[in-house]
Symmetry: C2
DNA sequence: CGAATAATTGACTGAGATCAACCCCCGTGG
DNA sequence: CCACGGGGGTTGATCTCAGTCAATTATTCG
């Protein structure tokens, strides 16, 4: 018997592209910032959301587009990035179901400053920025919870500035792997698998480095037995060792 | 007649350390997030603020302290930074009057993640996080405006990640100078003076570099006639040229 | 099986960090 | 008023991490 595929990832060959109705309601109710609302309120808010399916690599919006909508990931993975003139990209965030993104929070700004792209096939809920603004006005508690999320993201961004300013590539890669595993790690036989297709280039765009340098770091980690990896996937096997690299022991 | 001092900065030798009452009210009313409130509301909110004076270099809070307070700069300059193990600092923000900082927005977090230090003598208004939280609950419009400020800061932090990931030191320094001048530039004979004491090391901490490398970039700019500089001060003379460097022409 | 794309590996190069010496302001105190 | 000392700034020499270029190998899909 011969293994046909080596990827431990569950590849969604037939994308659903549409979320079921109950998934929508459950999802909205589970969003951190709608958590305090009554089921009736959530149902009312649900009315304003429209759902859209995306193929892998499909663009959701481009930097510079008028920032007219706010989005919530229902299924799949979405990446937010900015492109540099020399062709290099900077990956700002990788989003999992339940996370929001889009133009709402650059309210002064009229256009998106980043680009959103489906990393896998994805189902996305969207509202117009105006409508979401009305929801915020109507439900003050929601605004405060959104504020908390924004505060966390600001903190994460500052941490990243710190890392880029002080740490070598190897450490930045280790930190990134641990963060990804914390967010979307699934226990598998090979280890704690980061549950999404992830290339060396993606990691380079996340760490301010290059695919080659990331590859060297990854090879090292694998040689030490701390991770298992293949084409487009990585699983962590020794979190403690990685943590030590991440913290610069 | 002989020039006694070469610094074009107005040095505050006798710090006031206390803000006058009308300054307080004017300041609070002018805060972006209290802008929509009635004078009576502002006066009521004012009751909850306490004012404190700081000497230059005095610490306002340390990373790790319980995040019990939220602050507003009334007068002076405040720097927020994080320290790395190797002794290097990363300067996260330089704040001017009207800007807020502190523990409020790491609501999940119990401790400050950064350190706040008075860069000049400064007058700071403070409220307990609990009290400010109540203000937010009572005035929903305020929460939304705070949200907007947070969104701007997140965007600024992401821009910084982008710069650190893609641009050489020279460009990062140019961008930083332009941003500082936009925020606290004053027209002087020497040029558009950045109105605060600012060392090469400060700039290094802002650009993820070293004092030596910043010095080399600055020397270059001066040789080209784009800036004028001295001990702890910088004035911009050719914004267009700097803009071109900043945008990578 | 073969084409396409991801990943690895090596050799070379260069931007910038580090180390070190020196200069120059500026406030202080004789 | 001037001499002094300390901290900020400059400049040069060296070294190193990681980016670049290029060739090869591995993996997946049609």
């Amino acid at each position: 018997m011969k293994a046909r595929r080596k990827t431990p990832l569950d590849i969604q060959t037939t994308p659903p592209n549409l979320c079921t109705v109950d998934l929508r309601l459950r999802l909205l109710a589970d969003l951190p910032f709608f958590a305090g609302l009554s089921p009736a309120d959530v149902a009312a808010i649900n009315q304003h959301f429209r759902e859209v399916g995306f193929e892998p690599d499909e663009m959701i919006y481009l930097a510079g587009d008028p920032a007219a909508r706010m989005f919530v990931v229902a299924e799949g993975r979405v990446k937010l990035f900015q492109s540099a003139a020399n062709g290099r990209n900077v990956l700002l965030n990788l989003l999992a179901p339940g996370e929001f993104f889009g133009g709402l929070f650059s309210l002064g700004t009229e256009a998106y400053v980043d680009t959103a792209q489906a990393q896998t096939s994805a189902c996305i809920l969207q509202v117009s920025s105006d409508e979401f603004r009305k929801i915020l006005d109507r439900h003050p508690g929601v605004a405060i919870r959104v504020l908390e999320v924004m505060a966390q993201r600001l903190q994460a961004a500052n941490e990243r500035v710190f890392l880029l300013s002080t740490s070598p590539v190897e450490r930045r890669v280790a930190v990134t792997l641990l963060k990804l595993a914390g967010k979307m790690g699934r226990k598998r036989k090979v280890g704690l698998l980061i549950d999404m297709p992830l290339s060396r280039e993606n990691l380079a765009d996340m760490t301010g480095s290059t695919p080659e340098s990331v590859s060297r770091a990854i090879s090292q980690f694998q040689k030490e037995g701390w991770i298992a990896t293949g084409r487009m996937w990585i699983a962590l096997k020794d979190l403690v060792a990685l943590q030590e690299i991440a913290e610069g022991v």
